[in-house]
Symmetry: C2
Subunit: 163 residues, 2 copies
């Protein structure tokens, strides 16, 4: 029991310290990606009802990239100002195999900013629903960094441009 509490405390401490570190890095807010629905569609996926995370993650995701990021996908080098959007859309299942799109759940954004080496030069944020101003708790954004930027064994941009 004591060991469990210790682990929980350590985990909270780590998360808080990491969030503080990121807040300092991220003093320049990530802008809402105006016009991203006119950007190139990189690829899509779906999290279906078989997922243990369905309540949270269920639905389509569509990835869009601005022209700078398209250069990055093609050359492997993402220039300053590259923006990639992960557009999360509810799924509507008619039970007969027809799965269509519902409302927007959230919009994840990553932007390339050379100034920040410690997160691979990218900043991350999330916009809730169709809002251009509302964000989730900082701990959610910490999760973006932890997976995309803090694990140096992984590429920071996970997706590839589908043909």
């Amino acid at each position: 029991m004591k060991y469990k509490l210790f682990l929980i405390a350590m985990s909270l401490t780590f998360t808080a310290a990491y969030a503080f570190h990121l807040n300092r890095l991220n003093s320049q807010p990530v802008p809402y990606p105006e016009g991203y629905r006119n950007w190139i569609h990189v690829k899509s996926g779906l999290t279906g009802s078989a997922s243990p995370m369905f309540n949270k993650l269920g639905g389509f995701h569509h990835i869009y990239a601005n022209p700078e990021a398209i250069t990055g996908y093609k050359t492997g080098k993402f220039p300053e100002g590259s923006m990639i959007v992960f557009d999360k859309i509810e799924m509507i299942d008619d039970g007969k195999g027809n799965i269509s799109e519902g409302k927007r759940k959230w919009l994840d954004v990553m932007i390339k900013r050379e100034r920040s080496d410690s997160t691979g030069g990218w900043d991350f944020d999330e916009f809730l629903g169709d809002s251009k101003t509302e964000h989730p708790a900082a701990v959610v954004i910490t999760g973006c960094y932890r997976c995309h930027a803090a694990d140096k064994t992984r590429r920071i941009v996970f997706s590839q441009l589908r043909n």
Copy 2:
């Protein structure tokens, strides 16, 4: 039995006559939609394993529109040269709710050509896989017309631009 044969014969006659009619209309081939992956992504859907047509229709579909067709979605009037693409992509299901994209199955294309009133001013065709020249049998294309253009109670363009 005789009645059944009569129905089959009538159905084949109708299909052949209709295909012939369309071939005459469609003397100008539908061009391959070069660069459509850079067009605006209109919306998506998925045909999942619960569909009785899964073997044929299973997978993602992404709809893309050229600039003329985007004007059409926004104004309700599709100008000459509007092109809409229905991009059919295999789905890969890991059994844990993660459904990702596989290979292209086919590409459906519709193009607005005012010259042809009898099919609502649109021509239709399908390209197999990633091919820019291979098409399915004419009867498949007849199906496009029958559903989109011949039934005057329906709109010819079914999709709407998602926000």
